[in-house]
Symmetry: C3
Subunit: 150 residues, 3 copies
């Protein structure tokens, strides 16, 4: 249950698990109900702005990947490792964007690609991606998810 | 489990189940966890634009119904038919709209009305509807849902 | 199961449980699946407008608290009292806002603080907060949630 294989795959991508981010309000990073783990929305420090204006789609992709890393840090905190993940069930991605940004899916693929790289088939998920007006702390991207443990 | 009754009700509405849409990114159309089926957000081809500007509320309603049909195609793919649906649990509707569009619920009723027409009481659901800035591929409406099977 | 303690805590805040709001479209206030209760998004009458423009962040906070009260009214309707709540699992908050509103979390804390005041540790939840373009009926804030009963 150490999740060594998952951390190895992160390392192959040149990434490592960050510390869980401080909360921006009066909520928890995660709550478990039965075998489902509900994760709070995560932005990523240093990735502020608006995709389609101050950030390109490629920068948005990297912001979404950083959000995904912050979600993995929460999963690790909740489950004592990444090996406990049976399936990533549902991912929701929110992109702070301009009116005409059609590439919302390409941005959120930054998180989805990460989960699949780390977990393989267990990382494949249902997803909804939307473009929004504003995100907490001026984040460019925010992602949340529901994970099945077991 | 063939879901014949549900398909008959679709036919009475002059509708038929489409093929599952191609994905717009690196995700699955659905994931099952226990008896819950999580469906990815679905737009509808041919329904692009912004409700309150290039589309009317009535056109938005028809776009939402088309999103609902695409969700039913995914349910059919996941469960081998629509009869497996015990209850539509939660629906979320996203409307690409202008700043002053108050009729967000009337738009998303296009999906809700469809589910209730097809499933009867089993189609009644909890719902959240919001107006957003941009949707994948320029869609005017996107809808996702969670369905209980069994 | 009367939820007297929870209602007492509401009273200490100078609040009382309202009647469940009329629905704005063709959906239910809640659906139960297993031990999870899915609540529809709730706005709050009298709290219309846009945070950062016609409403301040503090007014948005009070709007979110009023949304939270409307959610508690639905929980009471579903479970016959508030004592049936084992854990507030997931909260989603939507703020109708200007482009530059970074204080989205401070607004949604209005609902989160309420749940924690009423339920204590059982009120602590995972949360996602986003800023959107428009909400049903011109609401300034909308909040939904998933609650575990038992």
């Amino acid at each position: 249950m150490s999740g060594r294989a998952e951390l190895d795959r992160l390392a192959e991508l040149g990434l490592e698990l960050p510390e869980p981010r401080a909360k921006a309000g009066n909520y928890l990073g995660w709550v478990r109900a039965g075998d489902l783990l509900y994760l709070s929305g995560q932005g990523a420090d240093g990735w502020n702005g608006r995709v389609g204006d101050s950030l390109t789609v490629d920068q948005g992709y990297r912001a979404a990947r950083a959000c995904g890393l912050n979600l993995l840090a929460q999963v690790h905190d909740a489950a004592g490792g990444l090996a406990a993940v049976r399936q990533v069930v549902q991912v929701r991605g929110f992109v702070c964007c301009t009116d005409d940004l059609a590439e919302v899916p390409q941005v959120i693929d930054g998180a989805s690609d990460l989960f699949i790289a780390v977990f393989g088939e267990r990382g494949r998920h249902a997803r909804t991606a939307i473009g929004v007006r504003a995100l907490p702390l001026g984040f460019a991207v925010e992602v949340d998810m529901v994970v099945q443990l077991g």
